[in-house]
Subunit: 486 residues, 2 copies
């Protein structure tokens, strides 16, 4: 589907892909939506080098162990063998840390709130378009703070930005939660993520935020002189989402006929297809002109509706319907001589296939009708995905339960867990499901609304379980989400 | 200056730099300005892989020879030695070509108008912040066309976009021209460039556009079935500008006190510095509030004026003046108790240091006064750079003349040239100056105004010389620009 819809193509380099214009336009929409939110919460963009000397990566042992198997190494440059191999960044903590050590001197320099949009490389054996590729595009935020509480608040602020963007723009419901020790980022104190469910029943980690504690600060010696005259290590966070989000859009909303794009994300929200008529060409032209003028004034979510007229003469209307359906354009308007005569256009929703005749006699009325439908499509896609997730979230109280749900291959399993890594590993071994997250509960996001400068609120609450661990039978501490994941 | 103004910092990787938020914000402004122009002329963005297999690069011999000495090679990945080394892209013709061969089938698929924003690596021995670094950020456009004329028109359309953007937004006058055979892009039919003069008298190639002819199309087999039933090779172009443009801004406009940013580019156009007063704090607060309300409604070039209030209490006004001057903010407004009493603010221009008292009693009047000054600063920066270039462009008719001008180290030399590579090489050898370009004359840009779909206009005219070649004394064909260059 992703190749047919021209979102991507396979590159002649193992595990890499080309993001074609149709796909890149979606990434631009993701960038626009997130970048605006990052900047509104005080973050700035910067750019750090692609190459990281091996010795820098080695300075943080846990991190190094975690990433080395996936690193691509540059060993020759400018016609000579290099004295020290350079890693192509798999993530940038180990190159950004040393820079922050140079820049941060005083408490006045804090917080540091920097993000970068870039490419990273992680050598993968088994790849899959958008979901897992050796090179991918992402953003990675890296921040420094005075206190642990402030770092925690930053981590949650970003988690909430991710949740809000993915749910409201991509129309994908997510479970925000805390990662287990074995699933957290190499070197982090705590990792939070948002977890989504694809339509094949597999989970996808759609974004992660790490409270790095003082771990990297100590390794890279990032210290500041506090107002009390003491030299202290900073508290750090890092966080990212990637082109993987586009894979989620494809897998959550797509159907047999191709992509289905949520209107808030879609580069083209409405396509107008004229139904040509040799006899009544003028009539169709008039209808088109009226539509153009109505759509030209239409707004949705406070912005102009993005529409296109497909007036190519070398293709039939039917061919065009198929093509635009394949490409996932949310709404199609058809206008033929009969429609013009009866003062209407036919609107066809991509999500439901539903056809409606809209009155086209008053441009204002038509404009409002179109934006109403776009809003309905956005809501329906989210609701449909949410219902699918509800229907595919199971309660399991034994290892056998989990195994049974995983054999049928679908969905999240919520299960009581004692908190021991051994039991988590046992579930993975016997069912193929990994611990996706410990879901956050209550109004954890409330404390983040004020942005990066808000009063830090402390650690969020995770869902507690009553009863016994599904594996060892000991008292359960958490209600954990398990699933087979991409 | 670039480190002090926090535009960049040196990275711990040889030849690489970190672009800090102050610098990256300028790059975002460049991206915004160019991307808008590219899209308005029908181009779309995409993303191609970072890695290029050695065999792909080798397929085009001339291109391979040209770039290989500068390539960084990945030889290990995922813990194993690779069967084939992968080049980190120095430019992407050799990875994009094979993709286009797959995508282009029919004349209906043409033109292909694709651009990508990305990082590239060219191993450099001697590096210099922004102007020459081993890794840099750029955009590279790659297009396919049906005819040579259309490819030529595309090349000139982009050249005109570059000229317009660099002159109108960066306030840097440029000479658009044709590169000589020895200076053109490896594998191109013709290369055009815009050449700027830095304030130290050296030239900088600020952007290049290549008409690639059918050279790469034949190597990578990019053929289409034309409407006449014939299989034909496409005609291609490629073009790019890089973070080097930021180096040009620094070097053209900067002065002893730091950066000077053209207002159209500046992320912050106006900084407001209150002059605190213990006794009359309320008065200053009122003045600030009035200023805020006036600036909030100010527009320049059809957009809201970008302003900041620096109300930090830990620094003195004098300290702040220095800092904002270092950072190049075009206009500073000072407001103290005496100003508020007399209903005015003091405006200080960064380009000239000129101080004016502006009436602050009517918000509308003040808003207009501020945008007037910003426009004047933009114009003045351009004019100043243009006058500097005029004063440092010399007419030379002999090799001795050229050598003399180059010894004094400054500027462009215009000289009659026979067109032979030998004479060009001799000038380089004896004076250190390279042939920057053969300037275009007449209304070459006129034919490009219609965008990528416009009627192709053919090749532009270059300036012809009367008299004799400065080196060999034969009849001169061209009036060539020479200079020492970055």
């Amino acid at each position: 589907m992703v190749t047919k819809a021209e979102l991507m193509d396979y590159a002649p380099v193992k595990g890499c892909m080309v993001i074609r214009p149709q796909g890149y336009a979606l990434w631009e929409a993701v960038q626009e939506g997130l970048d605006r939110r990052f900047k509104a919460t005080g973050h700035e963009n910067a750019y750090f080098p692609l190459f990281i000397p091996e010795s820098f990566l080695r300075r943080e042992a846990e991190h190094f162990e975690g990433f080395t198997p996936q690193v691509a190494w540059v060993t020759r440059g400018g016609g000579e063998d290099l004295a020290e191999p350079l890693a192509v960044r798999p993530t940038s903590e180990s190159i950004i840390g040393p820079m922050y050590a140079r820049w941060v001197k005083s408490y006045r320099d804090l917080p540091v709130l920097i993000n970068q949009w870039c490419n990273v490389v992680r050598w993968e054996k088994a790849t899959r378009p958008f979901l897992r590729t050796s090179e991918f595009l992402w953003q990675e935020g890296h921040t420094c703070h005075r206190t642990e509480e402030e770092a925690e608040a930053e981590t949650l602020t970003i988690l909430e930005i991710y949740r809000d963007f993915v749910e409201s723009t991509l129309a994908i419901p997510v479970v925000p939660g805390l990662k287990s020790e074995s699933e957290k980022f190499a070197g982090a104190l705590r990792t939070y993520s948002i977890e989504a469910l694809m339509s094949d029943g597999r989970a996808l980690q759609a974004g992660t935020c790490h409270n790095l504690g003082q771990h990297f600060a100590k390794v890279y010696d990032i210290q500041y002189l506090d107002s009390d005259g003491q030299l202290k290590y900073v508290w750090q966070t890092s966080w990212g989402v990637s082109t993987r989000l586009l894979g989620a859009v494809v897998m959550v909303h797509g159907d047999d006929r191709g992509l289905v794009l949520p209107p808030r994300l879609a580069p083209t929200q409405v396509v107008i297809v004229p139904i040509p008529s040799d006899k009544e060409a003028q009539l169709v032209a008039r209808g088109l002109a009226e539509l153009w003028s109505a759509l030209g004034r239409a707004e949705v979510w406070g912005r102009p509706v993005r529409f296109k007229v497909d007036d190519r003469t070398e293709y039939t209307p039917g061919w065009k319907y198929n093509e635009w359906e394949m490409r996932g354009v949310p709404l199609r308007l058809e206008v033929g001589p009969r429609d013009v005569k009866s003062g209407q256009v036919v609107a066809v929703r991509r999500d439901t296939g539903e056809k409606t005749a809209l009155a086209a006699t008053d441009p204002g009325t038509l404009a409002r009708a179109v934006s109403d439908i776009l809003e309905k499509i956005q809501d329906n896609l989210y609701e449909r995905a949410r219902r699918f997730r509800e229907a595919n979230t199971h309660e399991a109280s034994t290892l056998e339960d989990i195994a049974r749900f995983m054999e049928s291959g679908r969905g999240f399993v919520r299960t009581p867990w004692c908190g021991e890594a051994g039991c988590e590993a046992r579930i993975k071994e016997e069912t193929g499901a990994t611990l996706r997250c410990l879901p956050l509960v209550g109004d954890w996001a409330e404390s983040t609304r004020g942005g990066a400068g808000a009063e830090p609120g402390g650690r969020p609450e995770v869902e507690r379980a009553r009863g016994r661990c599904a594996v060892c039978g000991a008292d359960a501490r958490y209600l954990a989400y398990f699933a087979r994941a991409y």
